[in-house]
């Protein structure tokens, strides 16, 4: 079975149920948006899939069980993620960031030598994320939007098959959002993409399917139109979003 399959996933922090029995199917090639009010458990869901949060139930990707594996072992199975606050290696250059992301399977001899040329997959990623011109700049000096792109580039060279992106367009300009959305569409040809997002406009334009989370559970699922038409979603999430926009 290909794609991401989550069954009865439960994450409990000191008695507080952050994710309570979630079932989720993201078929290969989907661009799935996961939305929900603050504290709904979206990030915790990704944390559980990637091995950061202890969880019960079952998560399989391309047929392999992920739960119980260590974080770096899950990453090696092709599961890549970004973080809500971008977490690039600030003191290293863009190129170095990408080169490290491309290298977990390098042998000791390669590691102990200097990088003599830019690996082809890194070069391709640099072009895809449009950071070729700043490749020798420390990642810490990049504007926020470019940092987010760098993170996506790191997933590309890491050879992730499943992209789990936690609020990738937060803090981006409109132009950057459009570019990101187009990139996600391109990616979905060869990857499975899960995006956590609050931005409804971005969602309407780029989501293929949507899952709505609320209070650690799944409230609704379907196409953008179906989800928007769901009265429970309007009550819980869209109502919240409207309030948030007014505030």
């Amino acid at each position: 079975m290909s794609g991401l399959v989550v069954r009865d996933l439960k994450v409990v922090f000191d008695g507080f149920v952050a994710v309570g029995g979630v079932d989720l199917d993201v078929p290969a090639g989907d661009v799935r948006f996961v939305i929900g009010p603050n504290g709904a458990g979206k990030t915790t869901l990704i944390d559980a899939i990637t091995g950061l949060a202890r969880a019960s139930g079952s998560v399989t990707f391309d047929g392999r069980e992920l739960l119980g594996r260590k974080v770096h072992k899950i990453a090696r199975l092709g599961v890549g993620r970004t973080f809500q606050n971008s977490t690039v290696f600030e003191e290293l250059t863009v190129l170095q960031n990408l080169d490290i992301a491309a290298g977990w399977n390098r042998g000791p001899l390669t590691l102990l030598r200097r990088r003599s040329s830019v690996p082809p997959e890194v070069q391709r990623a640099l072009e895809t994320i449009r950071l070729t011109a700043v490749r020798d700049q420390p990642a810490g000096t990049l504007p926020h939007g470019q940092k987010q792109w760098l993170e996506i580039g790191m997933l590309l060279v890491q050879d992730a098959k499943l992209f789990l992106l936690d609020e990738p367009v937060a803090g981006m300009s409109q132009e950057e959002r459009d570019a990101t959305g187009e990139l996600l569409g391109e990616l979905s040809k060869t990857h499975t993409v899960v995006v956590i997002e609050h931005d409804m406009d971005f969602l309407r334009r780029f989501a293929r399917t949507v899952t709505v989370m609320h209070a650690g559970g799944i409230l609704s699922e379907g196409t953008v139109a179906e989800v928007q038409a769901d009265p429970r979603v309007q009550e819980v999430y869209l109502g919240h979003a409207v309030q948030a926009q007014e505030a």
Binding site: H72, F89, E91, Q96, I100, Q137, Q146
Partner: protein, 371 residues
Amino acid sequence: MTTLQDPPIAPSAAGRSARRRFGPGTGSRAAAGFAVAAVVLFAVAPVVLGDFRLGLLAKYLCLAIVAVGIGLAWGRGGMLTLGQGVFFGLGGYAMAMHLKLADAGPGQLPDFMQLYGQLDALPWWWRPFTSPAFALAATVLLPMLVALPLGLLIFRRRVRGAYFAILSQALCAAFAIFLIGQQGTTGGTNGLTDIQGFFGYDLNDPINRRMIYFIVAAVLLAVLGVAWQLMRSRYGELLVAVRDGEERVRFLGYDPANVKLVAYVVAAGMAGLAGALFVPAVGIISPAMIGVVPSIEFVIGVAVGGRASLVGPALGAIAVAWARTALSERLPSAWTYFEGLLFILPVVFLPGGLASLTVFLRRRSGKKASA
């Protein structure tokens, strides 16, 4: 904010300085640096300094070798290795044991064992050190073999930061206490003293003492070469990534414990090598030289010189050791306070150490020029 469509074309000043710090540091520049260091160490110092001062410098260079390892583990790897005394001691004792046995002559017990001990035969764990090859290998491999399981345990369990530093210190204290307790077989508080010869060379002969200096200087250069290659390699970049984002690195498929382990074990080997050279250079190794206080002192030099740079730690270690000698000759009581200041000042005001001063000055002059 720059849009994705038109990113800045020219790399910024910060970009250039980052490349200077992490990037190639072009091979020819490094070669020039090594050439200058070699000239200073092999041509200038032996001519300018008398036998006594050159002997002191040999001792400082030993401390510099420890410092290079700390620079790698702490500066690049973020592990505050406050316990290098253990590895320095292992290397030092391994060497001193062999030299004591050689001094005593075949079949004889070292002098201190005859003095205190009710021993009639060499303890079993002393015996292999009769072999020069075993002893030499042990000076480096023993510390590394101790560091390997220790590091594995520490890094797998994700012991970090202050906990790691305190654990390192505790190990140092335990090691020193152990040595003191085993008076009959380790020389106790006195340590292994009065070392007369070095692989057949009489250490009382000034010529041979000069030779020791040259060996120490050559080893320091070699150790710097190893550190240089590690820092510029892909591994070096990965190590910095682990230092700055250990959790993030996991999500890229690496086990950061293994990455840290390499730097930790290499630093331990360097400390062991330094301890081994310290013995013929100074003629003694004792618990007082490897315990908690000396372990902290190793780190002070590194902090002063700049922990993340290549030569900063070595220069800092030499400078601090020199200042210590100069100051404690004149004002013995003032040194302790001064040393405390030396540790605090760079940590608070100049986290990059003296090495960062050059970057800072260069940046300022650059600003003036462009203004």
